[in-house]
């Protein structure tokens, strides 16, 4: 049923589209982090108007599937832009996909960052203020690094989910890995082999990403490391005394 020779033949063509997937993931997660951080600050400070707008956005993104968000952006943005006099014809389809994924990630990352920021003890903020730092300095230099550390495990999960979620971008005309499978399928009449190649690539990269985040988490696990050091110190001290 499966033509393994075709799997071999498809592999280089489909793998060559990996940079497009990577580009969508990197840009979406980076912009999503930035927007998510802004959303978290707005939510924590309950900034008038923006807080309400953020709530609407959160509600919309949480309650709708990514595929509908993709279509709303793909068909809605050209209407809005053309009303502002932009020629939307030349816009690369990747733009729409990246915009949809960015807005999606911003909401989920934003809520994650918000809970992480709120998990940092308030005393840390007061400490920063007490040594003469401004609110922004305290937030960026003292509170945020701790919050990012807290949110790191979830960031890894979001990244892997986003990476896999980009497989839908072909629906708005992006020729990424899945898009290439469709093109090869149209040419040869065999798509199953292309899906197998995609499954292999997605699985391998997802496992690598998970491992990277696992290592990162272990490296940054300061609290437990300190505890271990303390134990060793105690043991050494105990041994020394004996």
């Amino acid at each position: 049923m499966v033509d393994w020779q075709l799997v071999k033949e498809y592999f280089p063509d489909i793998a060559a589209k990996f940079p497009i997937t990577l580009k969508m993931v990197i840009i979406s997660i980076s912009l999503g982090l930035l927007l998510g951080f802004i959303q978290a600050i707005i939510r924590i400070n309950k900034v008038p108007v923006l807080n309400q707008l953020a709530l609407v956005q959160i509600s919309y993104i949480r309650c709708t599937p990514v595929i509908t968000q993709l279509y709303v952006i793909y068909f809605g943005v050209p209407i809005i832009l053309s009303n502002f006099g932009f020629d939307v014809g030349g816009i690369n389809k990747e733009f729409y996909a990246i915009l949809a994924y960015t807005l999606n990630q911003a909401v989920f990352l934003g809520e994650n960052i918000r809970s992480s920021l709120q998990a940092v003890p308030k005393g840390q903020f007061d400490a920063g203020r007490s040594v003469g730092m401004t609110e922004a300095q305290t937030l960026l230099s003292i509170v945020t690094p701790q919050a990012l550390y807290i949110s790191l495990p979830m960031l890894g999960t979001f990244l892997v989910a986003l990476f896999q979620g980009t497989a839908l971008a072909y629906l708005v005309g992006v020729t990424d890995m899945m898009g290439k499978v469709k093109l090869l399928g149209a040419k040869t009449g065999h798509t199953l082999e292309g899906y197998i190649v995609c499954a292999i690539i997605f699985a391998v990269i997802s496992i690598i990403l998970e491992q990277v985040f696992r290592v990162l988490n272990n490296k940054l696990d300061f609290a437990n490391k300190k505890a271990k050091t303390d134990d060793n110190t105690v043991l050494r001290a105990a041994g020394g005394n004996a």
Binding site: M1, I41, I42, I44, N45, K46, V47, P48, V49, L50, Y74, F75, G76, P78, I79, S82, N83, F84, G85, F86, D87, V88, G89, G90, K93, F125, T134, E135, A136, L139, Y170, L171, V172, G173, T175, K182, L183, G185, A186, K187, G189, H190, T191, L192
Partner: protein, 314 residues
């Protein structure tokens, strides 16, 4: 945190104010440009008006986008995975019968139009007409009453694919020349396709002899489904059935009855937004020209393996 909150509130107020000014400005622009934007999707009163207005409309465009002189840029949404009609080749450039037909037409209309091609998924192309993303939808579209209500069909077909039949597994021996003998069969079709419309119509007209309609995503899934017995067959034009059998090894035979009659319009057409009659008429005239000079026949023989440019039901 109060200072930070106040700063953010101030920034947001300023941003909203700026946005509202921009929106007001643009609404003034759009109201003054309303005739031009409608002239893009509908027919301009005179052909010389549209390009001038489109230039005003997009001040930030590169020169190629507005075309040279008074030319109108025609955005063509075309399929990217429908071999041999419209698909992306190995270099991911548009190719196929529909594409080359338009390329043959392009020089004939070069004084008036610049064609720009935007390969897209089948499901997105007609919606692209609704949202002004495209001016012409090209995906080897057959004629359906539902589409004709919503869009403007070309008058000139570029290919005639023959009547629609049910391609069925030859092990099924209950099918006769009576359409009602298809009752109880599970027939596959794709969403939004011509075949889906015909099957739906059939079920409406034969309440006591219903066909079970199932949907497939691509031809390979269909072939697997037929082999496994998931589907008894699929509804297709005579031409599509021939292509399917040549790819997957003569899995199906055509039914003796057809789902379309001899009066049936079995052509494939370019589709436009309602009101864009001038563009439609110009392209129609060019299609007639390339049909008469033999170009269309050559393209049909090159891509489809025979001359499908003559309407068998005419």
């Amino acid at each position: 945190m109060k200072t930070l909150r106040n700063t953010l509130a101030f920034i947001s107020a300023a941003a909203l104010l700026a946005a509202s000014f921009t929106a007001c400005g643009s609404s003034e622009n759009s109201s003054s440009e309303a005739p031009s934007s409608s002239s893009e999707s509908t027919v301009p009163e005179s052909s010389s008006e549209a390009p001038k207005e489109s230039e005003e409309e997009s001040p930030v465009d590169e020169p190629e986008d507005t075309g040279s002189g008074d030319k109108r840029v025609v955005k063509i949404g075309i399929g990217k995975a429908y071999n041999p009609f419209c698909f992306l080749d190995d270099n991911e450039e548009p190719s196929g019968y529909d594409y080359e037909t338009l390329k043959a037409i392009e020089p004939l209309l070069a004084d008036k139009y610049d064609f720009e091609f935007y390969p897209d998924e089948f499901a997105n192309i007609l919606i692209g007409l609704d949202t002004n993303l495209y001016d012409v939808a090209v995906h080897h579209y057959g004629w359906t009453a539902e589409r004709a209500e919503k869009y403007l069909y070309a008058e000139e077909g570029t290919m005639y694919f023959g009547n629609f039949v049910i391609g069925y597994d030859p092990s099924i021996d209950t099918l006769t020349d009576d359409p009602e003998s298809a009752a109880g069969l599970t027939i596959a079709t794709s969403k939004g396709s011509m075949a889906e419309t015909l099957l739906t119509n059939y079920n409406d007209e034969h309440p006591d002899a219903q066909i079970t309609v199932e949907y497939y995503e691509d031809a390979e899934v269909l072939a697997s489904g037929i082999k496994s017995g998931l589907y008894d067959g699929f509804c297709a034009s005579v031409y599509d059935l021939y292509v399917f059998n040549s790819k997957y090894g003569d899995l199906l035979v055509p039914s003796e009855f057809t789902l379309t009659s001899d009066e049936y319009n079995c052509g494939t057409y370019f589709i436009y937004s309602i009101g864009d009659d001038e563009l439609k008429n110009d392209i129609d005239a060019a299609v007639v020209q390339i049909r008469e000079d033999g170009t269309l026949k050559e393209l049909s023989e090159k891509w489809l393996g025979g001359d499908y440019t003559i309407n068998p039901n005419a």
